[in-house]
Symmetry: C2
Subunit: 651 residues, 2 copies
């Protein structure tokens, strides 16, 4: 029996069944049941239109078309539509909407009489089922603003499938002005509004194309890895999950790193997963306690192979409504990033590069830098083109303070305005010798009304300060309507040649991994592991998009001896919790590498969304709560008893 026949039979039987129940209405049936109104000719309609589904989006249902899909070419066709009532004018013109779009319904005088009691109780956002015939709108009534504006649907029958309450917490159509907390509390209404749903649909399609690229075009195997795992060393940001064994806890992992490496040991060859990951960072803006990674790993591959694959995957999966992207992506070494932009995830959509002008100030010292040893420190300079035109003195002061927060107490950020070519103004400018000013002007290529910031300090401190100033000035100028960056431009950048180890961030002695302890060193730096580990570069690659890190990966250590040496001898950490991984590396582990892309952030950039919350169906608020269900919530002590835990009394 064909699907169509079966569906028709079902809808017919439903129609008949519903029809019979109109005689025995319950308390509910007059509100919500799929039911027939008087004079309905459901069966006839189904048969006469042959019950063909116009698109894959209406298959397996009683609908024939989506509201937004109707055009002049459908004129004369009988259709069945379902959707939400958006608008009603004089009970004669109704606007019905589904996710695909909206369409105008028209009732004849006769039908308005027939459905008068139904129309009386009809509230906006109620759910309707409509039978009717498409017709071209009369001349002069076409609506060019509406994709379906050439046609309207002459209603033959109309049914309320579910009435909406009289007063929704906010207007579904006008959600933009509503506070985010209220929108999150009624997320289902915000989703119906359109913008969020569009983001989720772009996300779904893009992820599907990534899967097709990986699984169908490149023989990757999608493998689901556990989320109830064991705490990893130093896993302070891992949520714990109590078990029924007293004192024993699972942890929710921050990434499937260990599992994907073990899959390579297992000969899986090419793994990927759209992986749910967890990070307990407490309250941080634009972070979510659970998030999604496009996680992949390959055997017998080098860094070039992984990077090429990622470029091709993104190009393949890129949403057509966002144009196309060019490959290969640009590349910068970590050092060049820091030198040119002052940070390792530069926004390269605008130039504004840093310059090192230490030598000028060595030759012509100024009082402002007199406390600083310019043999140990450097002077970095940043020129904001036309900065004086757009930034007030107050702005400059605020920006300067913002930059200084990233410098040690004693050091400063200074600014100077360019009055004429080679002529600076401001209190610091007075200290500049004419020769220095000329050199600066030549080096920076400055022009009238540019704004110049100076920063001095050790290592990358002055760069970091100017990097913050660079972004802050760009934001401020954009707030004032200056176009600094093109929001539609997609500047991908690979950042390479990171150091494998960095001095410990907590100030303690020794080194810590710049990324994680499984990253392999450059082959030519291996000898340095024993002698100068701080000089070893890692085979790590970060992917940056428009100044945001959207992915990171590396070629991994596949040698058990080297892995143990790195953990025990260099990082001075305990290997006991990683013995299973070391044992695996020693059991025929192939060379391998991979990457993880932060899907939420990537989608937020693609959808031009201000927050990752806008590309997640049900996000938590910035403090980790769900305003809709009120999670997290209390759990009774008797429930906790089975996990052998109690809540500590609060003092």
């Amino acid at each position: 029996m064909s699907r169509y026949v079966r569906n028709v039979q079902f809808w017919l039987s439903r129609a008949l069944r519903c029809h019979s129940t109109t005689q025995t209405r319950t308390a509910f049936s007059n509100r919500a049941l799929i039911r027939l109104s008087r004079g309905n000719n459901f069966g006839v309609t189904c048969a006469s239109i042959g019950f063909r589904h116009a698109s894959s989006a209406t298959s397996y249902t009683g609908r024939t078309h989506l509201c937004g899909s109707l055009r002049n070419s459908h004129a004369g066709q009988k259709v069945v539509l379902c959707g939400w009532l958006q608008h009603s004018r004089q009970d004669q013109f109704l606007v019905l909407k589904d996710w695909d779009g909206a369409v105008q319904l028209v009732l004849t005088d006769e039908k308005r009489n027939e459905f008068s009691s139904l129309l009386d109780e009809l509230r906006l956002e109620s759910v309707l089922e409509v039978y009717g015939t498409v017709r071209t709108r009369p001349d002069g009534q076409r609506n060019e603003q509406m994709p379906t504006g050439d046609i309207e649907v002459l209603v033959s029958s109309l049914h309320i499938l579910n009435s909406c309450q009289p007063q929704l917490p906010f207007d579904v159509k006008g959600f933009h002005e509503v506070k985010e907390s209220l929108r999150m509390e009624h997320r289902y209404l915000d989703l119906r509004g359109g913008r969020l749903q569009r983001n989720l649909r772009i996300r779904s399609r893009m992820v599907m194309k990534m899967r097709e690229f990986l699984a169908n075009l490149n023989d990757f195997v999608e493998v689901e890895t556990p989320t109830l795992f064991r705490r990893t060393p130093g896993g302070a940001k891992e949520f714990v999950v109590p078990s029924h064994i007293p004192g024993k806890f699972y942890s929710l992992p921050q990434s499937p790193q260990q599992f994907k490496q073990l899959l390579m040991v297992g000969g899986l060859d090419r793994y990927f997963q759209i992986a749910r990951c967890y990070r307990d960072e407490g309250a941080k803006p634009d972070r979510q306690p659970e998030f999604t990674q496009v996680d992949l790993e390959m055997s017998f591959v080098g860094a070039e192979g992984v990077m090429s694959l990622v470029e091709d995957m993104l190009q393949h999966a890129w949403p057509s409504e966002r144009g196309t992207i060019a490959t290969p992506f640009k590349r910068l070494s970590y050092k060049d990033c820091m030198k040119q932009y002052g940070c390792d995830k530069p926004d390269t959509r605008f130039a504004w590069k840093l310059k090192n002008v230490t030598e000028m100030f060595k030759t012509h010292p100024v009082p402002a830098f007199s406390a600083v040893d310019l043999n140990k420190c450097s002077v970095q300079v940043l020129c904001i083109p036309d900065g004086c035109d757009h930034l007030s003195n107050k702005d400059i002061q605020e920006v300067t303070e913002h930059g200084k927060q990233h410098l040690p107490e004693s050091l400063k950020v200074l600014s100077a305005k360019v009055k004429e070519e080679e002529v600076f103004s401001g209190s610091f400018a007075k200290q500049l010798k004419e020769e220095t000013a000329m050199q600066l002007a030549a080096t920076l290529g400055i022009k009238r009304d540019d704004l110049v910031f100076f920063s001095v300090g050790e290592q990358y401190d002055p760069h970091t300060a100017l990097s913050k100033i660079r972004l802050r000035c760009a934001d401020l100028m954009e707030d004032k309507g200056v176009k600094v960056r093109d929001p539609l431009q997609m500047n991908f950048l690979w950042v390479l040649d990171f150091p494998l180890f960095l001095p410990r961030e907590d100030g303690g002695e020794g080194l810590e991994s710049a990324h994680h302890p499984f990253t392999a060193p450059f082959a030519e730096d291996e000898a340095l592991l024993n002698t100068h580990p701080e000089r070893v570069r890692g085979q790590h690659y970060d992917l940056v998009l428009n100044g945001q890190e959207i992915g990171g990966g590396s070629i991994r250590i596949h040698d058990a001896h080297m892995q143990r040496y790195v953990i025990e001898d260099i990082l001075k950490e305990d290997c006991s919790q990683l013995e299973h991984l070391l044992s695996a590396l020693d059991s025929g582990c192939p060379p391998h590498g991979g990457i993880a892309l932060g899907l939420d952030r990537l989608m937020a950039i693609i959808c031009d969304a201000p927050s990752i919350r806008d590309v997640i169906a049900f996000p938590k608020s910035h403090d980790g709560k769900d305003p809709m269900s009120k999670a997290p919530a209390n759990v009774s002590q008797s429930d906790l008893d089975s996990y052998h835990i109690t809540v500590k009394p609060q003092l």
Copy 2:
């Protein structure tokens, strides 16, 4: 720059870099580095073979082919292979294996000399990179057992990428005889063995095809829903996750039920997700604390639509190596299932149906049933064809006891052997009047050596007892080599017309949901909600495959009043934790329905695996532990402090 050129450049640069480091070997480099051996002609090889990838499975790497892909048609081609050493004979013939298959490598005398030191240290399961030329094997040396048995690869260069430890915990090739606990402890080795990996690859491909069916062919949107949620009413089986807010916990949900309904309210129209779900059931065989559901929901759909969609999806995604499946699937009502098979998930691959013979024993009472009121009870009978041939008296006794466990203490299961047509033997048989025996023989169509079980009791008790006996006898007879079921047969069955409510399982007064409180009643039974809720049928459908429930779904209640009535007035439960759902239903919720398929169980049946652990990459053991990483594990009190919990002292 094309991929190929870039890849060649990378591999060339790698070759050169590695070559230079052979002068400065570190402690690691002689074990594990990707390095060149003497006389390597890597660059030349790459250039001469044009570095074309033979398949999508080797793209982005230095390999040209998979081991198992080589055939006579490749004769004369230069290839680069990577894999694990499986076998070595006289240092002349090596067998190299990757996931795709194995191939024989041949070394000339000259090459044996050149690589003698490398060959000396070569251990099985070490990882090799091989350069060579494919050639047809000499006559008489072809191996028809091997897919690559027509050819061999004449080695020009050979490199150990990673040596394997001398003594693995078990033989990777012979894992079948190894205890599961040891295999789980070294899961990466078990994965390399082949069988598990094959299952994971079938799973990945099948899920991909399901996605294509849903997303590409039917416009479903894949939406990720949260796993950190709020405890649901009665969610005793939900893991808790402590938060930083004192006394507040997230819960890991058993399914995305609420979210998918809210997405329908949000107008998403068609949702699916391959969803990770959690159920804390402690130690249960063949259950996993985390598992995967193919979860979907549609708006404006009836039960027929969902069932048709599922049938088409499974047919579309069915692995070709497992034949094809026919649709539509067979259907049985809950009542007919119970009457015919004694359970609601019958294995219909074999007949052996139950018969109701109460009337015979009413007419001709027997002492064995004298304590029973046959006006309230029924006598059910099950005939095992040829049962006497294969089951010993001990078997029959064991089976009888097994069945009796499902009957109240006072009731019994009885058996009788068929000696000749219409002649029963055994102690119970002596009670049977000749007329009863004749009637039984006629009703059951029994023949010599059949075995007949009788069971008496109220409602479905005798059916349940016989259902257990039915399956137990089938298992026992199959253990003895009798073919009862065809393991390759796939008997899908929809079970329909379930009651919406059942008496409470804990024996308390009142009703509980047969499935869950969101299932909609049959439209024609709605009036009964107020008067006889126990007689209301639910719009629920279970999908059964070969006697195992692999999915369940329903059309949901979309009316807020009805939902509140069901929860508060019929189930006598508190609505306060579901106010957000009720409020959503009242905000323009479309009629909707869906289903969830248990992916792990489905894959286990398809892969003919004895346990769902065999279709999961890293499963937990039956007691919820991970033998590899030793999860769950201790967590320090200082880590627990930030969650405001302590472990209760054990008495």
